[in-house]
């Protein structure tokens, strides 16, 4: 969908291999049921500052009760789930360390994400879909543009007078979309 979207995952350099190792290590070492559950949670995903915006928009949405992985990971098989998670997770860790200069300016869902998420919408909402032919467009997001992220393209904060000194405080930009 995003022809300009950066498909960096495929073009990662050799340092990636290191990270595959490291990340898999992390996953394996915390493979307790609890640990895995934690890595599904909004708190874990939101712990990366780059995830702030999506976390906030999610937390205010009709879907706030869910966990990120309910939408973002496949649920057909456990293996599929964790392979995907490791793959994406490796990507995220990589970008937050060595690959910072390659992080896209604006976060875009990859094609894989779109497919996975869409399938999850369908799985949860099968009854609605049985009810009414609901597959007119490429994806659920073509109409449900703001579920669960993106409702309000600006936070309420923008519609209040600025707090003095605010910009100075954020001169290096910690608040802006992560």
């Amino acid at each position: 969908m995003f022809k300009r979207g950066i498909r960096k995952f495929l073009s990662m350099d050799k340092r990636m291999l290191l990270f595959i190792g490291v990340f898999t290590g992390i996953i394996l070492s915390v493979v307790t049921v609890k640990g895995l559950a934690y890595t599904d949670s909004p708190e874990f995903c939101g712990s990366c500052h780059i995830m702030n915006n999506v976390h906030d928009s999610f937390a205010n949405s009709t879907h706030a009760e869910l966990s990120c992985s309910d939408c973002h990971l496949p649920h057909d098989t456990l293996i599929n789930k964790y392979t995907n998670k490791a793959k994406a997770g490796i990507g995220h860790v990589y970008y937050n360390t060595l690959g910072e200069d390659k992080i896209p300016q604006v976060l875009h869902p990859t094609e894989n994400t779109q497919e996975v998420v869409n399938q999850n919408c369908i799985d949860c909402h099968q009854s609605t879909l049985d009810n009414v032919s609901h597959d007119a467009k490429d994806s659920c997001s073509s109409c449900h543009q703001a579920i669960p992220h993106g409702n309000d393209f600006k936070t309420e904060d923008y519609f209040k007078p600025a707090k003095s000194g605010e910009l100075l405080e954020n001169k290096g930009g910690t608040m802006n979309n992560g």
Binding site: R4, E100, K154, D157, G165, K171, G173, N177
Partner: protein, 450 residues
């Protein structure tokens, strides 16, 4: 590091409240300063961009030397470019003459707010070359700089041009407590607006009492401005009409367009958040065409759209717009020459006046659109509506003229042919500075009072 300053509300930069040099901000805000330096870059887009090119170029608006005949804009008028060039460009433009006033510096230099404070009303009317420019130089000014939009002590956004606040309040807008979102429009609205110089003291004044639409501003010029002694910017050299020159109403157009009405601001598109050193996000301080940064500028909101398709949509809007603009300009040209012919054919004064009223209005309506910077994108329907009014007014002048000219026995076919000739001559002249001289000739003698 950012961490230290995050302390509290009392955070201060340590800079003087009077600081007007951009360089003073460099060490404190290296990322924004670096971004600002990128305003030096010059790259064109299809209809806009940052190369210093003449507006008279064949792919822009080649007939402006006719349409602005008798005014500085017929001599030299260029595509605008980065903020960093503002001083260089105002210094070099042939529109600045020995009679130019201080007001011309108002939107170019960081020294202006201090000069207004110091000199009061004498700033506006002060002689540009003799007094104002040397003074600003001696104050160590910068071209459009940090202090124009930020309080140097706190970096809070602020409005530094009093004309803006006056203009807004005249429309009944409460300026006492603007939101953050408002300020992201207002800092730009200080300069990217239609203005005129007040008749009495040359003060930069915004004609907004009745609203932001071109017809609202026209109404203002016909009433309030006239009552205060301002009738025109110049007398047109082809038609002898008292003309209003329109200037860059980006703010007004945007506010009444689909994005402005939806609460989107200039800064959202023209200062998108960008990753500056690969990690930190800052507001881009490289003010340029958002078509060069669509991912940052548009995708934040239009994430569900394919960006290539969205760009194509912008191109569609702009193409439709530019074609209509050129047509409206053409009708306006005809109206000027028809009135010229009325004058030389001895048509009665009151008929000429009546035709000139329409010419004036016709010119206002296309010029306020042409002066706007986004080739229609800031308000597609609104701009087209204005162009439609322009054509209707110009045609009303042509119709009236036709009636009187035929009565005087003028051959209309010949008149039309002479107009084509004059247009061709202007179009084909390669020296931009000479074009304006070809707009009048023996058949169409100059009408400007000497």
């Amino acid at each position: 590091g950012a961490k230290e300053e995050t302390a509290a509300n009392e955070a201060k930069t340590g800079l003087s409240a009077d600081e007007i040099s951009n360089e003073a901000f460099k060490d404190l805000f290296p990322l924004q300063y670096d971004s600002y330096l990128k305003n030096e870059e010059m790259e064109d887009t299809k209809y806009s961009g940052s190369e210093k090119r003449s507006k008279f170029d064949h792919d822009k608006e080649p007939y402006l030397p006719i349409l602005f005949n008798g005014y500085g804009f017929a001599t030299e008028y260029n595509e605008d470019r980065g903020h960093i060039y503002a001083l260089e460009d105002v210094r070099e433009i042939a529109r600045i003459t020995d009679k130019s006033v201080g007001s011309c510096l108002t939107c170019k230099s960081t020294a202006v707010p201090h000069m207004i404070e110091e000199m009061g009303d004498d700033y506006w009317g002060g002689n540009f070359n003799e007094e104002i420019w040397p003074k600003a130089e001696s104050m160590g000014h910068s071209p459009i700089g940090c202090s124009d939009c930020h309080d140097p002590e706190t970096m809070d956004l602020r409005v530094t041009r009093p004309s803006f606040i006056k203009g807004m309040e005249a429309q009944g807008i409460d300026m006492s407590n603007p939101t953050k979102n408002d300020m992201r429009n207002y800092v730009c609205g200080q300069c990217h607006v239609e203005y005129y110089f007040a008749a009495d003291n040359s003060e930069v004044t915004y004609p907004w009492d009745n609203g932001f639409k071109p017809e609202d501003m026209y109404e203002y010029y016909e009433t309030v401005a006239k009552e205060n002694g301002f009738n025109q910017d110049w007398i047109h050299n082809v038609s002898g009409t008292p003309i209003l020159k329109a200037q860059h109403p980006d703010f007004e157009t945007h506010m009444t367009g689909p994005h402005g009405e939806a609460g989107v601001t200039c800064s959202d598109c023209h200062m998108p958040y960008e990753r500056a050193d690969g990690k930190k996000k800052i507001s881009s301080h490289h003010w340029q065409s958002p078509l060069k940064t669509m991912e940052q500028s548009c995708a934040t909101c239009h994430s569900n759209r394919d960006l290539d398709e969205l760009e194509e949509r912008v191109m569609d809007i702009q193409e439709t717009h530019m074609e209509a603009l050129h047509k409206a300009e053409d009708v306006s040209i005809t109206s000027h020459y028809y009135v010229n012919k009325m004058i030389t054919s001895g048509v009665s004064e009151n008929k000429i006046k009546a035709a000139q009223e329409h010419v004036r209005k016709g010119q206002w309506f296309w010029d306020i659109v042409a002066a706007e910077s986004a080739a229609g994108f800031h308000n597609p329907q609104g701009a087209m509506d204005t162009l439609k009014m322009s054509s209707e007014e110009s045609f009303a002048a042509i119709k009236l003229a036709t009636e009187e000219l035929v009565k005087k026995g003028v051959n209309i076919e010949e008149l039309d042919k002479e107009i084509e000739k004059v247009k061709k001559a202007v179009y084909e002249e390669v020296d931009n500075f000479k074009k304006k001289d070809l707009a009048t000739n023996d058949y169409f003698p100059a009408q400007q009072p000497k």
